[in-house]
Symmetry: C5
Subunit: 92 residues, 5 copies
């Protein structure tokens, strides 16, 4: 089911630009990639895709009330790569 | 009505310098640009225009008790541009 | 009356070096320059002139439990200039 | 017994790469090196080896609710060297 | 009496290297130099000499639950000079 949620975000075989994600898309993304338990924190803090692209490492670690272990991975393996990819797609 | 509040700040087709804003002008500005729910935090923290021009990203994110999502946008799309504009108008 | 308190600090038409201020002098200084409500925080945190000269922007904003608006002004318009003046007077 | 726990991590006379440690391996490592009392904080925050390799000094000092004294040593004498060693082993 | 406590640390007319101090030596040092009230915070946080040598300004100001005024002086007039002296004695 997570699989389904995750790929409901995909258009033309590619993740749509996070800048277009609503808060619920952000939540579903983190559920789909294995952070079921942590995903709702993004809803609590009303983080949509535009906000996600503005988050620093410190924001993820201290602004979401997450346990430190998962927070470190969420930033390093997801938030940072999503931001890098977005930047790359928008500066050509 | 928000429209009216917002433009009550405008003089000669231009926003007056934030340095002249009272706390209530700051509150009305954020209500007018779509942060109805967050605007009162500026009143709680007694932020007038002069203080607004002194705020860093970190001050906005941690000093106003706002949810992280809206706080990120308030800084990036409003506080920062207002500061940049003020600086530009005052160094010619 | 504030006027009197303030100028009780003045010797020979000049503010004495903050390095010589007791905690109460610090409190009276901030009362005199318009921060009546915030002045007592300096007493609560036992800040004398020597400590005042060591404070960073972050210390003023987060270590005194002040509202953000007045704290921003207290640092920018008072603590910073007092430190700059002290430095200038002591490196000639 | 701590001795046993510690060396249960050793393969071929060498600590296995922390990137492979589960949360319990992290906990056992810190118990084995003398931080019996502090080790459980790593479990509370769900820190496995991958997360451990991502921790900064500030994360160790403020994100684990440890007393400052032991936290300073845990970072300086263990987390930092483990990260340096991992980096060295993975950039040849 | 503070005088006695303080000089009980002295060997051959010189303070022994803080790297050798136990938690109680740290506490006695701060009592002896006039921070009677603040000294116990070093015991609460289990700070021995090795940890003391690792403390940054921020650690002293935010990790010991001290009032800001005394904390600023403890760092500037004691922790920093002790670290500088230690460094000098150990890099010749």
């Amino acid at each position: 089911m997570l699989y389904v949620l995750y790929f409901s975000l995909v258009e033309n075989g590619q993740l749509p630009d996070p800048a277009e994600w609503a808060v619920l898309d952000v939540v579903n993304y983190f559920k789909a990639v294995g952070f079921e338990e942590q995903a709702n924190a993004f809803q609590d803090q009303e983080i949509d895709g535009k906000s996600l692209l503005l988050m620093t490492r410190n924001d993820v670690l201290t602004g979401l009330s997450l346990k430190l272990g998962p927070a470190l991975k969420i930033y390093e393996y997801h938030v940072k790569p999503l931001q890098t990819q977005h930047l790359k797609n928008n500066t050509s």
